[in-house]
Amino acid sequence: MTATAPSIADPYRQRFAEFLANRREPDSLTGLRRAAFARFESLGLPTRRQEAWRSTDLGPLQAVAWNLPTTAPVEVGSLPDLGQAAHRLVFVNGRYAPALSQGPALPDGVTVTRLSQAAASQTTLVESSLDQAPGLDRHPFAALNAAFWEDGAFVHLPRGAVLETPIHLIFVATGHDALIHPRLLAVLEDGAQATVVVEYRGQGRYLNAPVAELTIGDGAVLHYHQIQDESPQAFHLGAIGLRQGRDSQAQAHLFADGGQVTRTDLTALLDGEGAHCALDGLTLGHDSQYGDFHVRVEHAYPHGTSEQLFKSVLDGKAQAMFDGMIHVRPHAQKSDARQLSRNLLLSRQAQAHSIPRLEILADDVKCGHGSSTGFLDPDAEFYLRARGIPASAARALLVYAFANDNLNRIGLTPLRERLGQVLADRLALLDGDAR
């Protein structure tokens, strides 16, 4: 026994050696992995002494001896359905599952495929795009993902291509203390339009460190949905990097329901004039779940607009963190940036933290932020009950009302309804055991 606590960084080194030993891929790709691993080693695993990770307790992670995912066949159970036609790719423990994947024919020139395949057939495009998204360079788990990813999705839309059918990516994990590193690389050239739904789910204990790289060109439109429904024992430490061209429009709707300790770092770079992004998140926390969204919106050019709307509904001893940065670079005049964080506490032990950050280096901008945390309004509850609505239904209705404007932003009707049902089920469950 040594006096210092074991760090999971050391096992990572060993795992990386094991991992490389079994790879068959172009040397150039392996080179990228080695560079990423070196980046991870220089960043180190985060500690609470680092400002960016102060709020996130990774202690429970240190106690686990993590492994590479099993190669044995596993049972994944039923998969979520988008309720409409979709280009579906399923990955189990980070590996492609062809039997579960399907989709209609793609328009000419559009690619929706597994990343490992794209790396072999479109090597130059993939290698030049990989690991370029904003925010990833500072993120240790994103560096680990860049070193360890086995597979994931590659989406490419050529200039002007419009993909009507949503892309549905499902990443399933099956426990075994596995380290899982799924990756999405989406490139929408100028004027292209697509909708992507990413779902994370699983059973047992694992550490999922996914990365989504989203690059959209001038005038492109992306609707990105992420549904985090990890198992109750799971850790989820993900990163999303979004780079937007001139006059492009991006929406990101994040829904966080599962996991033990979960965090998503989302960086949006408005990298052209007049780009617009709307980012929202809804965290449902119960028991002793910890759910964290770290958001950074960077206005790099004039006339960009951005909105952030992050909410949490917390029961039990759940905790939620929202840390949101608006950064406006000096010449990004006429930027308009909004941020709102709202938290609803359903129990006295639940806790919500909101940290708004503003770095406004231009002088002619509009910026607004606000945050609120509160309990259900007893007057509103009484008002509903005085009209005959039972107490439990009244509370559910109020929670629903609180979360509703986030759900309403989801354009895919069946998905919106499914998430509404998740919320409703959660409330029914909560009512059953709390009262």
């Binding site: 509903l384 009950r385 005085a386 009209r387 005959g388 039972p390 209705l397 109020l398 009302a401």
Partner: protein, 256 residues
């Protein structure tokens, strides 16, 4: 249908209602008038079942049942309605959705199936005309951003849709211009029949020109200082409550 006997209520240790006796029969309209802080809303809230009030003595029976042991939603389902003095804003809950939830909650309590969509729509439209409410209000969140008058009108609208057996209106006329006041009165009068009872709390005699009460009570310092016919309201309008603001014994003598 509503019997209140020797009702004593404290709020945060202070006795606000100091022995109320009040019996309202089917088809009757009673008005309660009284100075600010005399306990009118306290009485209304205790009848509706709001938390924060402690009944230290007395009882309230509604159609023979002990009202005080029912949760507020059961009282509503039993046919009791309170038009709030200060209607609550509920962002994110559309008025129409809220009304349907309320109607269906009451139906469920009575063992009836959920309301038929067409029937509900017809009822809503009919009642909306009665209170001259604009259809756009249905889509808006409950009371959110409503003017004072719109909120009061919305209370009467809800009452007209829910058709309770007994309704308490707590200053539903306050802050209304004469046209809005007539609308409120029309809403009440349309529901008036031989079975339904009303308790109308008001500061202004003029409401009682439109909703003509059977009995007027004067509530002062948590007691009913005097009860009489509708002429009592006119008298109060002229003389104010000065007569009653002394110690209760003298007030009663003065009334006699």
């Amino acid at each position: 249908m509503l019997e209140i006997r020797n009702l004593h209520v404290t709020v945060e240790g202070r006795e606000i209602l100091q022995g109320i006796d009040l019996t309202i029969g089917p088809g009757e309209v009673h008005a309660i008038m009284g100075p600010n802080g005399s306990g009118k809303s306290t009485l209304a809230n205790v009848i509706a079942g709001r938390e924060g009030y402690t009944v230290t003595a007395g009882e309230v029976l509604f159609q023979g049942k002990n009202l005080l042991e029912m949760p507020p939603e059961v009282r509503a389902c039993e046919g009791l309605f309170l038009a709030f003095q200060y209607p609550v804003e509920i962002p994110g809950v559309a008025n129409l959705y809220f009304l349907k939830a309320a109607v269906n909650a009451v139906r469920k309590y009575r063992g009836e199936p959920p309301v038929d969509a067409m029937d509900f729509w017809d009822l809503i439209h009919e009642r909306m005309e009665l209170v001259k409410m604009d259809e756009s209000m249905l889509k808006r969140s409950v009371n959110e951003g409503f003017s004072g008058g719109e909120k009061k009108r919305n209370e009467v609208f809800q009452m007209a849709v829910l058709q309770p057996y007994f309704a308490v209106l707590d200053e539903t006329d306050s802050g209304l211009d004469i046209d809005a006041l007539k609308v409120v009165a029309d809403g009440v009068n349309a529901l008036r029949n031989a079975e339904r009872g009303f308790l109308v709390i008001t500061h202004y005699q003029r409401l009682l020109d439109y909703i003509v009460p059977d009995v007027v009570h004067v509530l002062v310092n948590g007691r009913i200082a005097r009860s009489g016919s509708k002429e009592l309201a006119l008298e109060l309008e002229e003389q104010g409550y000065a007569l009653y603001n002394e110690e209760p014994g003298r007030a009663r003598r003065a009334a006699a």
